[in-house]
C-alpha cells in the first residue's frame, strides 16, 4: 500500500515535472494529407514547418503526421496531437475541415488552424492562399502556348478552391485565345501518382497539349515529359526539376511567414481566431520562374499580369462575366466578392461539363 502510494506520488511528481518542462516550449503540430516528399502541396507545408523550427530554435517543438486520410482517421490523429500537448495544430487539407472543428471543441485550450476551409470557431482559424491569382497567370500562358487549343485540367475534388482555379485559368486562357477548350478530369484524390499520370496521359491522348493540375504529386509532369511536346505548370511547389520543359512556370505556396507569425502569436498569447486569405501581394502565392520555352512577349505579359495583381490593380474575377448557364454574374468592371469566391460552386460561361455535386 505504502509502496504503491509512493509510486503514484513519484509518477505524479514526474508528470508535473515534465508538464512544467513542456511549458517552456511551444509545441506545434502539423497534419499532412500526403507524404512530405510529394514534391508539391505537402512538401511546401513541411518547408513552412521547418522554417518555424529555424526561426524559433529551442523555443518550439514541431511534430507532424503525414499521409493522413481525410475523414475519421484525421480526427484520431489530431486528438492524439492535442493529447500529447500541442499548443497549435495546423491541419493542411480541405477535407480536415469537420474533423478539425470536432476536435477543437474537445480541446478549447489548443489553437487550431485549418487550411483552405471556411469553418471557424473560437479556437479555430482558417487560412488559405489566393491560388486563383496564380491560375490567372497560368491561364494566360496556357492560352498562348496551346496549339491544339485543348487544355487538360486534372482536378482533385470538386471543392470551391479547385473550381476557382479552373474558372480563373479558363477566363485568362480564353482572353488570349478565344478558341481554347478545357477538358477537365476529376481524379478524386490529392495524391496518387499512378492515377495522376493516367489522367495526364488520357488528356494528352485526347489532344491536350497543355496540362494544368490541381493534385499534389509531380506525376503529371513526368507523363508530359514522356509524351514530349506537352506544357505543364508546377503546382503548389516549383517542381523545377521538370523545368525548363515541360514545366514552364509554377504556382508556389509560401506558408512559412504565416506559420511563423501564428506561432509567435501563440507564444505571446495574442492568438485570435482569424480568417486569412492572402495572395501574390502578401507573398503567400508566388509565381515560379517562367522558363525560356515561353515566348518573350508572352512572358512579359504574364509578368505584367502578376505585377498588376500584386499592386491590387487587377482582380482575376472582374466583370463582365457570366455563369456557365448564361446568367449574369459580374457586371462590367465589377469585382467578385470574397464570399462568392470562397463558396464558388459554378463554372463561368464557356466551360463545358458539369461540376460533380
Amino acid at each position: 500500500m505504502k509502496f504503491t502510494t509512493l509510486l503514484a506520488s513519484a509518477a505524479m511528481a514526474l508528470g508535473l515535472a515534465t508538464g512544467a518542462m513542456a511549458e517552456d516550449k511551444t509545441k506545434v503540430g502539423f497534419v499532412y494529407v500526403g507524404p512530405v516528399g510529394d514534391g508539391g502541396w505537402t512538401y511546401e507545408h513541411n518547408k513552412g514547418r521547418l522554417a518555424v523550427e529555424d526561426h524559433f530554435g529551442d523555443k518550439v517543438e514541431t511534430v507532424f503526421v503525414e499521409s493522413v486520410p481525410e475523414g475519421p482517421d484525421a480526427e484520431r490523429v489530431m486528438t492524439q496531437m492535442a493529447l500529447e500537448g500541442a499548443d497549435l495544430i495546423f491541419t493542411t487539407s480541405f477535407g480536415y475541415m469537420d474533423p478539425t472543428i470536432n476536435v477543437a471543441k474537445k480541446f478549447p485550450n489548443v489553437k487550431f488552424e485549418h487550411a483552405t476551409g471556411y469553418k471557424t470557431a473560437d479556437n479555430v482559424s482558417v487560412y488559405s492562399a489566393r491560388f486563383y491569382e496564380g491560375r490567372a497567370v497560368q491561364g494566360h500562358i496556357a492560352g498562348n502556348m496551346t496549339k491544339s487549343n485543348i487544355i487538360g485540367y486534372i482536378g482533385s475534388y470538386p471543392i470551391p478552391e479547385v473550381i476557382r482555379g479552373i474558372n480563373s485559368a479558363y477566363i485568362h486562357a480564353k482572353k488570349v485565345n478565344p478558341d481554347v477548350e478545357f477538358k477537365i478530369v476529376w481524379a478524386y484524390t490529392w495524391f496518387d501518382p499512378a492515377k495522376e499520370a493516367d489522367a495526364a496521359t488520357v488528356l494528352i491522348e485526347q489532344g491536350a497539349d497543355v496540362i494544368l493540375q490541381h493534385t499534389d504529386s509531380t506525376a503529371p509532369q513526368a507523363a508530359a515529359q514522356e509524351a514530349g511536346n506537352v506544357v505543364t505548370f508546377g503546382q503548389a511547389s516549383d517542381m523545377s526539376e521538370y523545368a525548363p520543359f515541360p514545366r514552364v512556370s509554377s504556382i508556389i505556396d509560401d506558408w512559412a511567414p504565416y506559420y511563423i507569425a501564428r506561432t509567435q502569436a501563440v507564444m505571446d498569447g495574442t492568438w485570435e481566431s482569424a480568417n486569412t486569405w492572402d495572395g501574390i501581394r502578401e507573398g503567400m502565392v508566388a509565381i515560379g520562374e517562367i522558363s525560356d520555352a515561353v515566348p518573350a512577349d508572352v512572358k512579359e505579359e504574364a509578368l505584367a499580369l502578376k505585377a498588376a495583381m500584386a499592386a491590387g490593380e487587377y482582380h482575376p474575377f472582374t466583370g463582365p462575366l457570366k455563369r456557365q448557364d448564361g446568367s449574369d454574374w459580374l457586371a462590367e468592371g465589377e469585382v467578385a466578392d470574397d464570399g462568392t469566391l470562397a463558396g464558388m460552386n459554378f463554372y463561368v460561361e464557356g466551360l463545358e461539363g458539369e461540376i460533380p455535386q
Partner: protein, 306 residues
Amino acid sequence: MDLGEINPVLLVASLMVAATPLLLAAIGELVVEKAGVLNLGVEGMMIVGAISGFAISVETGSPWLGFVAAAIGGAVLSLLFVLLTQVALANQVASGLALTLFGLGFSALMGQSYVGVKPPSMGDIHIPVISDIPVIGPILFQHDPILYVGIALTAAVWATLKYTRVGLILRAVGENHDAAHALGYKVIKIRIMAILFGGACAGLGGAYISLIRVPQWTEGMTAGVGWIALALVVFASWKPWRALLGAYLFGGITVLQLNLQAAGVAIPVEYLAMSPYIITILVLVILSADKSSAPASLGRTFHASH
C-alpha cells in the same frame, strides 16, 4: 460530349499498362495464399520494390537491372515477414501490417536523393511486321517487356499450380499443413519459398509504377495498389486467370472512366470514379458463384510439433 475523341486502340493499350502493377502483385500474393500464408505486406513490398528498382536503374542506366533489383528488394523485405511468421511464429496479420508500415517508411528514407530524377526508359518492343498490324498491333505487340512478363507469369503460375507436382505440394501445404507435414513435405521451407516469390512479384509490380507507368520516384507512390491486389486475390477465388481478368477490368475501367470524363460524357463523375471498384467486385463475385473457397490453412501458423 464526343465519344469519337476516345481512341479505343490507345485505350486498350493504356488499360494493359494500368493493370500490370496490380496483376504482378496479385499473382505473387496468390501463390503466397495458396501456400496458406496471408501476407498483408504487399503494399510495403511494392513500394520497396519501386524504390529499389528506381535507384538501381538510375545508377546503372539499365531498366532491366532495375527490375531485377526490384524483385530482389521485394523478396528481401519479405524475408522479414518470413523471420517473423515462419521462424518466430508471430501473427501473420500483424506482421503483414508491420511490413507495410515499415516498407513505406523505409522506402521514403531510401528515396531521399531520387526525387525529381528521371529514370532511363525501357522502351517498347517493336516486333517488325506483327506490331504494324492495324488495331491489333498497337494493342498487343507494342508494349514494354514487363507487361508481357506479367501475362507470362500468370500463365506459368496457373500451369504450375494445376499441372505440376510442385503446384500440388504447394496447394497441399496451403490446404492442410499438418497432413502435408505428415507426408514428409517441408511445410516451412515451401512457405518461405512462396513468400519470397510473392515478395519478388510485388517488387516487380512496384517498379513497374516507378519505372514505366509514372515514371518517377515519389514517396508513397503505390498509393494503395497493394491493398487492391490483396482484395483482388480473394475476389478472384485464388485463380490466376481470374486475377488477370480482375486486374484488367480494374485497370481498364480506371482508364476508361478518365477517358469518359475527358470526353465529357454525361454520367455523373462520382459514379465513374467508383465504377472500377464496383464493377470489378461484381464481376468477380458473380464468377465465384462456383463456391471455390480459400485455402483451408490460410493464415494459420504451423509448428511441426503439433
